[in-house]
Symmetry: C2
Subunit: 105 residues, 2 copies
């Protein structure tokens, strides 16, 4: 059940994480997990990033590092910011609805 509850919500959280600052995949993972997500993995985050990239929501910078392969940094573009706003509205409505139901004795 835990897994299924995430669907769609994780996407909004990723948008929020890269709203203003560039981050690459591993940073995004760490930020999400440090906020309380249980154990988001690469198998989850990569398909999601690719999906959002195809929807044209990011500015992307590829940066070479001294260690290992290049890193791909993501940040929202204007369309991404709009999408984040849409998510926030949906989320606010959803969590209030659910909490309302849960608090009926």
């Amino acid at each position: 059940m835990q897994t299924q509850m995430l669907k769609g919500i994780l996407e909004g959280c990723v948008l929020k994480v890269v709203e203003n600052d560039y981050h690459f995949s591993k940073e995004i993972l760490e930020i999400l997990n440090s906020h309380g997500f249980n154990n988001i993995t690469e198998g989850t985050i990569f398909p999601l990033l690719i999906r959002l990239e195809k929807e044209n929501l990011f500015e992307i910078k590829k940066i070479k590092t001294e260690y290992g392969p290049h890193r791909k940094y993501y940040r929202l573009n204007e369309k991404g910011k709009q999408e984040l706003k849409n998510f926030e509205e949906s989320w606010n409505h959803l969590y209030k609805t659910v909490n309302h139901i849960m608090k009926e004795e």
Copy 2:
């Protein structure tokens, strides 16, 4: 996106609705929608009820009515109440996590 956000969450809400009182499918639908869900339909609720019934979470009463076919009333049994508790814990953790991320400046 809206649709995907529901996944798994709706199940918990249905459990809550029939926690203490018997309700049949249409009542469950109406209660959910009246609390703010957009437009849950039968195509959503029936597979869900059948799923939960197979997991043995309900007591079920079939009642004949004067109008039309019988109604199938659902209420949680002990296992269902335990499952609801699990959902509530997961949900509380999830919505706090998401709100925490969303409120970072």
